[in-house]
């Protein structure tokens, strides 16, 4: 039942009608799925020849190595962007105006640039290896978005907390490290994890600069003439793994959000999700 009361609790007649609609739409959706499956069979995607490569250990290892490289790039990018985000957020919350301006400039610039342009710039113009180029691009972008998340988090801790801490005679650094940041971090955990999902998804951009990640391994197998160009089988194997990884991480974010809604430790923080790459005032950041 929707909480905006878009429809009433259906009576017997309406329930019969809804069942009819449900039946019709299910048939239509199943028809579409069946059509796709028919096309797959029609274009000979399920022949043994096209699926045979996946029985070879060498090819399985190739895929696993690709997956490992994807996860490696993700791990580096995640850790580094958390660090960069922390540094930039500290800069934006600094009491010194020049530091604040510089940090704001960096954050706004890196959030406004397509992450792929940054990756290509590092890769082509600075002639860096694919892996560091990918990690650099991801770090700059996600780091700036995370900086904004951290800053919003710290600013949304209830004012009384800050005032109480100052009135106890704490210094600004102490107020930050002992009072505001711990509460903000806990409250911002779901948003931080969601941003890490973005980082994980964007590691696939490494494919475009010939980094030997998961998609790259798939492309190698797919363009093999010996097995009749098994492109669709490759997509069928790669996408569930990729999407599954991202779903697990997204689910973790939802789980954290649900947990903290019950937790008394985040009561003082009004959680507002920070939108990545927002240029609009008032959207997400308050």
């Amino acid at each position: 039942m929707s909480d905006t009361a878009l429809y009433d609790i259906p009576g017997p007649l309406a329930r019969r009608r809804h069942r009819l609609y449900g039946l019709v739409s299910t048939v239509v959706i199943l028809g579409l799925v069946a059509w796709v499956v028919y096309l797959l069979f029609d274009t000979h995607q399920f022949t043994a020849e096209k699926w045979r490569p996946f029985t070879y250990v060498g090819i399985q290892e190739l895929l696993l190595r690709g997956l490992g490289n994807t996860l490696k790039a993700f791990a580096y990018a995640a850790v580094l962007s958390l660090v960069l985000g922390g540094v930039l957020a500290t800069g934006r919350l600094s009491a010194h105006r020049p530091v604040r301006w510089l940090a704001t400039l960096l954050v706004e610039f890196f959030r406004a640039m397509p992450v792929l342009v940054m990756i290509f710039f590092v890769f082509v113009a600075l002639k860096v290896q694919p892996m560091p180029a990918l990690v650099t691009g991801l770090t700059l972008y996600n780091g700036s978005v995370l900086a904004e998340v951290f800053r919003t988090g710290v600013n949304s801790v209830e004012r009384g907390q800050r005032e109480a801490a100052y009135s106890l005679g704490m210094r600004k650094t102490q107020v930050m490290t002992y009072v505001l940041v711990p509460q903000a971090l806990r409250a911002m955990l779901p948003t931080i994890i969601s941003q890490l999902v973005v980082a994980l998804k964007d590691t696939s951009l490494g494919f475009l600069i010939t980094y030997e990640e998961f998609l790259h391994a798939g492309k190698l197998i797919a363009s093999n003439l010996d097995y009749g160009l098994p492109f669709i089988p490759v997509v069928m194997i790669i996408s569930p793994i990729y999407i599954g990884m991202c779903m697990i991480l997204s689910w973790l974010a939802t789980f954290a959000a649900r947990r903290q809604r019950r937790s008394p430790k985040t009561e003082a923080v009004e959680v507002a999700a920070a939108e990545p790459g927002t240029l609009l005032p008032g959207a997400g950041t308050h």
Partner: protein, 214 residues
Amino acid sequence: MNVLTDNFSLYGKGLLGTVELTVYASLLALVVGFLMASFRVAPVGSLRVFGTVWVTVLRNTPLTLLFFAVLLGLPRFGVVLPFQLFAVLALGCYTSAFICEAVRSGINTVPTGQGEAARSLGMTFGQTLGAIVLPQAFRSVIPPVGSTLIALAKNSAIAGSFSVTELLGTYKTLNELGYSIIWTFIWIAVGYLIVTLTISAVFNVLEKRWGVPR
């Protein structure tokens, strides 16, 4: 500086490609996103499930993988279309999932009384949604939809690597012609800033005109 003046037509073509991709994909994303959002709040169970699956899968798909599957995969089904159309399809469907979520949370911001009043006037689900709730939800989703479309404009850079004419792709030609690579990228960056700042300005105007006063 002369990187820009010497290759003005090349940059212009790239910028135009990016703008075209962004506009068409935005339209597709908005239409599909609104449709999926209404599916997700519909009284019919199978439509709700369809909407939920659509959003969950597309939100967790890397866009490069989607491009890979659509631009290189669909031709194997015998679906042969221009690459630009494929790119619009991939970008539009991907972004529609985010639009759908924005619209759905917008629907939730409309006070319950509005829907109840519409129901008590005897309006059907379609009328309640279309004439009462969505127009009001529209006002509060202007900022999130704006930032989603900015993200779309930035994501369109991926299309360039799949041989679609757009801004980032121009670097290849200029690199071969031997121009300063740093300046090439600076002008590309300026081009993207123009596109994203324009979208941002448009949505600021919309927000001023129709947005919910905060």
